[in-house]
Symmetry: C2
Subunit: 188 residues, 2 copies
């Protein structure tokens, strides 16, 4: 079993070091990303769409060249456990998702995913074994076409100094930066 | 010069391998995150706010335990080159930002940051040398209070099967998943 260029154990080691814990979602994520990588659409360069912000983006960042900071991975907070790898120009992609029908064959995995058991009643060893054993058997895939507004690279454009905070910001955002327009994450 | 637990060269190696290229923004990002780490507010656990989606989030992910997938880093697309590390419970944080006034002392760095030169006229060696030489001298910091709606951990709540697509989604999103409510990144 390989995840990208890593063995299972190497991948788990990376997960612990980058993500901070051995999250079951990252093990499933490993299978999801690996399945997508094995079924890449034609073309030289691909970008990634991740349909949840929980766990899965880190599997994409560890196993593909796509990260949040280089802009090749986009995260949409749709709450679906799915990843699409798509050819940058055409937007043609392969989407791999956790198939809830197939999941029924794996009771511990199913119960964990649908939160049917309180955490203290979960058997984490059985859970991880089932996730590992199930592997790609709980996944399905489909071809998708990514919307043009997502594939188009948005240029930053000119940079200006915000007259309110004095910091640099993209002029396309308006006469002052978005933080000074009320979107600051801070009090005051 | 250290970035987190890495030497400068180790950090650059990590940047190339994770981010895919030696982006100048990640070198500045290294100084920003390191400065924040050295001035952490009191408390055991901290989360990160990154005020741009360009480059900087990868410096946070490489140098702190905070990633997009583990939820400890939040990215706000405000276009400001700033990172805040804040104590999880209290929201008290230290914000480190690129200070445009201080930047004036470094012409190549300044011209690159404000896009005053076409790319082909840039001297990338001089640029990297100035960024490295300037280091924390172009940064300023301030204490901030992160808004409670950001510090509060939002629970996912119950998971249901979407009646339209058949995939699992957080029931709090409504009677069907957000993708089926029109937020799908795909055509159809």
């Amino acid at each position: 079993m390989k995840f990208g260029s890593y063995s299972y154990d190497e991948y788990i080691h990376l997960v612990k070091s980058f993500h901070g814990s051995m999250a079951p979602g990252l093990v499933i994520g490993g299978f999801i990303v690996e399945t997508a990588l094995q079924n890449l659409p034609e073309g030289e360069f691909f970008d990634a769409v991740c349909e949840t912000s929980v766990c899965l983006p880190d599997a994409v960042q560890l196993l593909t060249p796509c990260t949040i900071g280089n802009g090749w991975m986009k995260v949409f907070d749709l709450g679906r456990f799915a990843v699409t790898l798509y050819e940058k120009e055409s937007g043609k992609g392969i989407r791999v998702y956790l198939d809830t029908e197939k999941l029924k064959a794996w009771p511990e995995f199913h119960a964990w995913f649908f939160k049917l058991k309180p955490k203290r009643e979960q058997d984490s060893e059985a859970l991880l074994n089932q996730i590992k054993e199930a592997g790609a058997a709980v996944l399905s895939m489909e071809e998708v076409q990514v919307k043009p507004e997502i594939t188009i690279k948005r240029r930053m454009g000119p940079t200006a100094v915000c007259p309110q905070c004095g910091e640099a910001y993209p002029l396309r955002d308006g006469a002052s930066c978005l933080a000074c327009q009320g979107k600051s994450p801070y009090v005051n």
